[in-house]
C-alpha cells in the first residue's frame, strides 16, 4: 500500500503541476509558477526516495533477489480480447533507479530554473512544459506495456520539442526543435513497427507476459522474414527508436542543435534523462534483446561507433554546450556498448550493471556540467569558449564543481564516473579490439573535457563583452544549491554497490575489479588530461599546430563529418524537391486535371448538342422531314415483302 501511495505521488505531482500551470496560461501565477513547480517536484522527489527505500529495504532485502512489483494498472485501450494496452506502474530495480534519477535531477533543475529564467516573459509556460516533461519521463520508466512506453515516449518527445523551441522568436530555435522532433519521429516509425512485430509474435503487448512466457519468445524465433526472425526484426526496429531518442549515429544530428533550448533544459532533457531513454529501452526489454541474435551485435557496434565519433567531434567544437552535447552522445554510446555486450551473453552481468550504473552517475555529473556551463554562459553572455577564459577567479564555486565533474567523466578515482565506466570496460575486457577502442574513447573524453575546462577557467581571460554583473544573493542560492548537491552526488555515487540494486533478472551482482584492471583506463584518462593541459592551460599556438598536424581529418571532424549536409540534401532536395513537389504537381495537374478535363468534355459535348436546339422552327421542320424521309426509305427498303 505504501508503495502504491509513493508511486502515485511521484507521477501525479508533476501532472498536477502541468495542468495547473498550463491552464493558468501566461497571465496568472506569474511570480509563483517556479516555486509552485519546485514544491511539487520536491514532493515527487521525496516520494521517489521513500519509494526506493521502501522497495529495496522493506519489500526486498538488499543482497537478495529483487522481486518486481506492480502497484497500479488499468485498461486503457483494447484492440481485441488478447491484445490490449494497459497503463500502470511496474516497479523493479531499473524503474525505481530511474524514478530516483529523474525526479531528483528534475527537482534540482527546477530550482535552478527559478532564478535562471526569471526575466522570461513566458515563465509560467516554461515550468508547465518542464512539469509535462518530468511527468512523461516518469510515466515512461514505470511502463507495463509496450504501448505505454510508446505513449510516454512521444510525450517526452513533444515536451522536448516545446522546450527546445522555447525561445520561438529565434528562427534557429524553431528549426532546431523541428529537427529534433522529426528525426526522433523518423526513429519512432521504426519503433512502432517493432512494437507491432514483437507484440504479435509474442501475442501480447504486455511486458509481463512478454517476459514470463519465454516460450512465446522462443516460438517467435522460428518465423523468418528476409532471413531474420521476427524477434530480431522487432528488437532491431525498436532499437531504431531508442537510437533516435538517444542520439546514436546516424540519428544523432538533432542533439547538438537541441542546445538551442535554455541551458537547464539541456541539463535535464538532453543530458540526464530523455536522451538515455534508448538505453533504458534496451535495458527494459533486455530479455528480448538477449534472445535476438544480431540485434545485440548491432547495439554494441552502434554504441561504440557513436561513442568514438562523438568523442572525435567533441575535440574540435568551440561552443561549450555543443561540446557537452557530443560528450553526452559519446557517454550514451558507451552505455549502449556495455548493454550490447551484456546482451551478447559473454559478460552479461557486468555489461548490464555497468551501463545502468553509468546511466545513473552520468545523469548527475552531466547535469552538473550543464548547470555549471549555464552559470558561465550567464556570466559572459556567450556560448563560445573564445569568449571565456580565466574564469576560475570570478566563479570559484562553479570552477570547483566543473572540475569535479570533469574528473568524474574522465574516470579518475574515486569519483563516480570512474566506477561506472570501469564496470563497462570490465565487460569489454575479453574483446581486445573493442576494449582498445573503448580506452581510446576514454582518453579522448578526458582530453576534450579538460580542453573545455582549461579554455573556460584557465587560459587567457577574454575581454568581457559587457560589464559582468555580480550575482545576487538569490542567484547564489538558486544556482549554488543544485550545483553543490550534484557535485556531492558526483563525488560519492560511485560508492553505491550498484549491482545490488539494478541487475539483470533482479539477481544481485557485486562488481569486483582487480587493481590491474584499473590501470589502463585511468592511465588513458591521465594521458588525455595531460595533453589537454599541455595545449590549453595557457594561451599558446599549440592547439592550431595540433589541428594543422591532423590536416584534413581535423576539418572533416570540425564539420561533423558532413552528416548534417547529407541529411539536408536528402530531405530538401529529394523528399521536398522531388517527391513532395511531384506529388503535389501530379495531384493538381494529372488527377484534378482529369476531373477538369471530364467537365470540359461534357461542356464541349453540350456545346455541340446545343445547336440542335436552336429554337428556329424552320430548322426543326427541316430535320423533321429529313428524319421522316429517311425512316420512310428504310421501311420501304427493308419491308418484309
Amino acid at each position: 500500500m505504501a508503495a502504491t501511495g509513493y508511486a502515485l505521488l511521484i507521477v501525479l505531482m508533476p501532472l498536477a503541476g502541468f495542468v495547473v500551470l498550463g491552464l493558468a496560461g501566461r497571465h496568472h501565477l506569474k511570480r509563483s509558477a517556479g516555486w509552485l513547480a519546485t514544491a511539487l517536484m520536491s514532493v515527487s522527489a521525496a516520494a521517489a526516495l521513500l519509494l526506493a527505500w521502501h522497495y529495496f529495504f522493506v519489500q526486498n532485502a538488499l543482497g537478495r533477489s529483487l522481486e518486481p512489483a506492480e502497484v497500479f494498472r488499468f485498461r486503457w485501450l483494447s484492440f481485441s480480447p488478447s491484445l490490449y494496452v494497459d497503463m500502470g506502474m511496474h516497479l523493479d530495480g531499473l524503474s525505481v533507479m530511474m524514478l530516483v534519477l529523474v525526479s531528483t535531477v528534475s527537482l534540482l533543475v527546477h530550482l535552478y530554473s527559478v532564478e535562471y529564467l526569471r526575466s522570461e516573459e513566458r515563465y509560467t509556460s516554461y515550468f508547465a512544459f518542464l512539469q509535462l516533461f518530468t511527468f512523461s519521463m516518469l510515466g515512461l520508466v514505470v511502463s507495463v506495456n509496450l504501448f505505454q512506453i510508446y505513449f510516454f515516449w512521444e510525450l517526452v518527445g513533444v515536451s522536448s520539442y516545446l522546450l527546445i523551441g522555447f525561445h520561438y522568436e529565434r528562427p534557429s530555435a524553431v528549426s532546431a526543435a523541428k529537427k529534433a522532433f522529426v528525426v526522433t519521429r523518423f526513429a519512432d516509425f521504426g519503433f512502432l513497427i517493432g512494437i507491432l512485430i514483437v507484440g504479435f509474435s509474442s501475442t501480447s503487448f504486455d511486458l509481463n507476459t512478454l517476459f514470463q512466457t519465454n516460450c512465446h519468445v522462443d516460438a517467435a524465433r522460428e518465423e523468418l522474414f528476409l532471413g531474420m526472425s521476427a524477434i530480431t526484426w522487432g528488437t532491431l526496429l525498436m532499437f531504431m527508436g531508442g537510437a533516435g531518442k538517444s542520439a546514436m549515429f546516424p540519428l544523432h544530428i538533432w542533439l547538438p542543435d537541441a542546445m538551442e533550448g535554455p541551458t537547464p533544459v539541456s541539463a535535464l532533457i538532453h543530458a540526464a534523462t530523455m536522451v538515455v531513454a534508448g538505453v533504458f529501452l534496451v535495458a527494459r526489454l533486455f530479455p528480448l534483446y538477449e534472445v535476438a541474435w544480431l540485434t545485440a551485435d548491432v547495439v554494441t557496434v552502434i554504441g561504440l561507433t557513436s561513442s568514438l565519433l562523438a568523442a572525435i567531434i567533441a575535440c574540435t567544437q568551440t561552443d561549450i554546450k555543443r561540446v557537452l552535447a557530443y560528450s553526452t552522445m559519446s557517454q550514451i554510446g558507451l552505455m549502449l556498448f556495455g548493454l550490447g555486450l551484456a546482451a551478447q551473453g559473454a559478460s552479461r552481468e557486468a555489461g548490464y550493471v555497468g551501463s545502468q550504473f553509468h546511466l545513473f552517475t552520468h545523469g548527475f555529473f552531466k547535469a552538473l556540467l550543464f548547470l555549471a556551463a549555464g552559470v558561465v554562459i550567464h556570466r559572459v553572455h556567450s556560448n563560445e569558449v573564445s569568449d571565456m577564459g580565466g574564469l576560475r577567479r570570478t566563479l570559484p564555486l562553479t570552477h570547483l564543481v566543473f572540475l569535479i565533474a570533469c574528473l568524474a567523466i574522465s574516470g579518475i578515482p574515486p569519483l563516480s564516473g570512474f566506477f561506472s565506466k570501469e564496470t563497462i570496460l570490465l565487460a569489454a575486457a575479453s574483446h581486445p579490439f573493442w576494449y582498445g577502442l573503448a580506452l581510446l574513447v576514454s582518453a579522448l573524453t578526458a582530453f576534450y573535457m579538460f580542453r573545455l575546462y582549461f579554455l573556460t577557467f584557465w587560459n587567457k581571460p577574454a575581454l568581457p563583452k559587457s560589464e559582468p554583473e555580480l550575482p545576487t544573493a538569490s542567484e547564489r542560492l538558486a544556482y549554488g544549491f543544485p550545483l553543490v548537491v550534484l557535485a556531492v552526488a558526483t563525488a560519492v555515487n560511485g560508492f553505491i554497490p550498484f549491482g545490488l540494486f539494478v541487475a539483470p533478472d533482479g539477481r544481485p551482482y557485486p562488481v569486483h575489479a582487480s587493481a590491474a584492471a584499473w590501470l589502463p583506463p585511468v592511465g588513458a584518462a591521465l594521458c588525455g588530461i595531460a595533453v589537454a593541459a599541455w595545449g590549453y592551460a595557457r594561451a599558446s599556438e599549440r592547439p592550431q599546430e595540433l589541428a594543422r598536424r591532423f590536416g584534413a581529418f581535423y576539418s572533416v571532424a570540425y564539420r561533423k563529418f558532413y552528416i548534417d549536409e547529407l541529411y539536408a540534401y536528402i530531405t530538401r532536395r529529394i523528399i521536398f524537391g522531388k517527391v513532395g513537389r511531384s506529388a503535389a504537381w501530379t495531384d493538381r495537374q494529372v488527377v484534378d486535371g482529369a476531373v477538369n478535363q471530364a467537365g470540359w468534355l461534357i461542356q464541349q459535348w453540350s456545346l455541340l448538342m446545343k445547336c440542335w436546339q436552336s429554337g428556329r422552327l424552320q430548322g426543326y421542320a427541316f430535320w423533321f422531314f429529313v428524319g421522316a424521309g429517311l425512316l420512310a426509305v428504310v421501311l420501304l427498303l427493308y419491308s418484309p415483302n
Partner: protein
C-alpha cells in the same frame, strides 16, 4: 429512446430559423437547436449502453419502421448500433461547434443557418437510417445545401469550387443509387439493411454492386483518385462549411461504405480487399506528400484530410474487427480534429486576412488561445498519444497487422511511415504560423466567447477520446460488420498478390 427526435429537432430548427430567424436571432435559434441535439446524442449514448447491457445479442436497437412507398417497400426505418451512436455524437459536437463559429456571419444569416442546420439533419438521417433508400435520401439532403453554402458564403473561386464539389459528390450519389438498385433487384427485393444482411446476396450480384457502392460512398470520403473536390471545396467554403464538410460529410462516405458495402457484401469485400488496401495506402502516403508542398493553410489541412481519410479506407479494407474499429475511431477523431483545425483557421483568418503560410508568423504572441488550439490540433493530426489521432491510427495499425499476409503488413508499414511526413508538414506549418517574429496580424480583436466555446468543445472531444479511449471502443465493439469478422490472431488470410 426516440430516434425521430434526432432528425426532427434539426428540421424543426431549420424551419424555425427560416420563419423567425431574422438577424442575430438566426444564430441564437441554431445554437439552441444544436445544444438540444448534443443533449439528445449524449442521452442516446447513455440509453444505448444501458440497453445493451441487458440485450447483448441484438444488432440494431431502438428500431422503428414505417413503409412510405409500398410498391418498392421503401421504409422510413431507423435504428442504431454502436457505430451509429458514435457518429451521431460526432455530428452533434461538430454541428454545435460549427454553429458557434458562425455567430459572426452577417450576410444573410437566416439563410446561412437554415442551410447549415439542414445539412446536420441530413447527416443524422444517414447515420440513423436502416433502410438503404432512406439513407440515400438523407445523403442527398446533406449534399445539396453545400452548393449554396459555398457558392454564396464562400471565398476565392467559390462558384467553380461549389460546382466541382457538388458535381463530384453527385457522381458518387449516382453510383450509390445504381448500386442500391442493383442490390434491390439482385437480392431480396428490399432496401432494408438488416433484411439484406440476413439474406446474404449472391456472389455474382455482390461482385458488381460492391464496387459501385464502395466507389460512390468512397468519393465522399476522398477515395483516391476521386479526392480532388476536397482541397478546392474545403478551401472555398466558409468556416462552418469547411467544418461540416470535413467533420461530417466526409464521414458519411466512410459510414456508407461500412454500413452498406462491407456489411452487406462480405464476399465481395474479401475479393476487393487488396484493391481497397492499395487505394487507402495511396491516399495516405500520396496525400501526405502532397501536403508537404502546400502554401495555403486551408489547402494544407484539406490535403492532410485526404491522408487521414485514407486510414478510414485502409481500416475498412483490412477486414479485421480491430482495423474496422480503427476506421470508425479515425472517422470520429478526424471529424473532431479537422473541425477544430478549420475553426482555428477561421479565427486566425479573421485577424490576419490571409491564409498564406509565409505571410504569417509569430502569432503565438498575438493570439495565444487560437494558436495553442491550432498546435493541439496539429499534434492530434501527427498522432501524438493522449490525443484522439493516435488511438485511431494505432488501432488501424494493430488491426492491419492481424492480417498475416504480406500485402496487409506492407500496407501498415506504408501507413505508418506517414506519421513522419505528417510531423514534417504540421511542424512546418506551426513553425511558420506560430513562431518566429510577429507578422501578418491585421486586426487584433479578441477571440469571442462563442468561438472559444466551439474550440473548447472540440478540444474536449479530442482529449476525451485520446486520454481514455476505452469507452468509445466498448461502444463500437461488435457493431456493424465487425461482428462477422475475425478478431485478430486467428484471422483467415486474405488472398493477396
Amino acid at each position: 429512446m426516440n430516434l425521430h427526435l434526432l432528425i426532427l429537432i434539426p428540421l424543426l430548427t431549420a424551419v424555425t430559423i427560416a420563419l423567425w430567424g431574422r438577424g442575430q436571432r438566426a444564430a441564437l435559434i441554431a445554437t439552441a437547436g444544436a445544444v438540444v441535439q448534443l443533449g439528445l446524442s449524449v442521452l442516446l449514448y447513455l440509453t444505448f449502453t444501458a440497453y445493451r447491457q441487458h440485450h447483448a445479442g441484438e444488432a440494431f436497437v431502438f428500431e422503428y419502421r414505417h413503409v412510405w412507398y409500398g410498391p418498392l417497400q421503401i421504409a422510413y426505418h431507423l435504428g442504431v448500433d454502436g457505430i451509429s451512436v458514435a457518429m451521431v455524437m460526432l455530428t452533434a459536437i461538430v454541428v454545435l461547434a460549427g454553429v458557434l463559429m458562425s455567430w459572426e456571419v452577417s450576410y444573410m444569416p437566416r439563410e446561412f443557418h437554415t442551410l447549415l442546420t439542414l445539412l446536420g439533419a441530413g447527416a443524422y438521417g444517414v447515420f440513423l437510417s436502416l433502410d438503404a433508400f432512406t439513407l440515400f435520401f438523407f445523403l442527398e439532403l446533406a449534399v445539396l445545401p453545400k452548393y449554396l453554402l459555398i457558392g454564396i458564403w464562400g471565398s476565392g473561386k467559390k462558384e467553380y469550387c461549389a460546382r466541382k464539389l457538388v458535381l463530384m459528390l453527385m457522381l458518387g450519389s449516382a453510383l450509390v443509387l445504381v448500386g442500391l438498385l442493383g442490390m434491390y433487384f439482385g437480392g431480396p427485393r428490399s432496401f432494408s439493411i438488416p433484411d439484406i444482411a440476413s439474406s446474404r446476396l449472391a456472389p455474382e450480384v455482390q461482385q458488381w454492386v460492391f464496387p459501385l457502392l464502395f466507389t460512390g460512398f468512397g468519393i465522399f470520403t476522398a477515395l483516391f483518385p476521386f479526392h480532388t473536390w476536397v482541397p478546392d471545396g474545403h478551401s472555398a467554403a466558409p468556416t462552418a462549411g469547411s467544418m461540416f464538410l470535413a467533420g461530417i460529410s466526409m464521414k458519411l462516405g466512410g459510414y456508407g461504405c461500412l454500413r452498406t458495402a462491407t456489411h452487406l457484401m462480405p464476399d465481395a469485400a474479401q475479393q476487393y480487399a487488396p484493391t481497397i488496401i492499395v487505394l487507402g495506402c495511396i491516399a495516405i502516403l500520396y496525400g501526405s506528400l502532397a501536403t508537404l508542398m502546400q502554401k495555403d493553410i486551408k489547402y494544407l489541412n484539406a490535403y492532410s484530410s485526404i491522408s487521414h481519410c485514407g486510414f478510414v479506407v485502409l481500416g475498412i479494407g483490412l477486414l479485421t474487427q480491430t482495423a474496422l474499429h480503427g476506421a470508425v475511431l479515425q472517422m470520429v477523431s478526424h471529424g473532431l480534429m479537422t473541425a477544430l483545425f478549420f475553426a482555428v483557421i477561421g479565427i486566425v483568418y479573421e485577424r490576419t486576412h490571409t491564409r498564406q503560410l509565409r505571410e504569417m508568423g509569430g502569432l503565438m504572441q498575438a493570439m495565444p488561445f487560437a494558436v495553442t488550439a491550432l498546435f493541439l490540433a496539429g499534434l492530434c493530426s501527427l498522432g501524438l498519444p493522449g490525443l484522439s489521432g493516435f488511438v485511431a491510427e494505432a488501432t488501424v495499425f494493430v488491426g492491419g497487422w492481424q492480417q498475416p499476409d504480406l500485402l496487409s503488413r506492407t500496407a501498415v508499414v506504408i501507413a505508418c511511415s506517414s506519421i513522419v511526413v505528417t510531423a514534417v508538414y504540421i511542424l512546418r506549418a506551426i513553425g511558420q504560423v506560430a513562431m518566429g517574429p510577429l507578422r501578418g496580424l491585421v486586426s487584433p480583436h479578441p477571440v469571442s466567447w462563442a468561438e472559444r466555446l466551439a474550440v473548447l468543445l472540440l478540444l474536449g472531444g479530442i482529449f476525451l477520446m485520446g486520454l481514455w479511449p476505452e469507452w468509445l471502443v466498448q461502444l463500437i465493439q461488435g457493431s456493424g460488420p465487425a461482428g462477422a469478422l475475425p478478431d485478430g490472431l486467428t484471422a483467415a488470410p486474405v488472398e493477396a498478390f
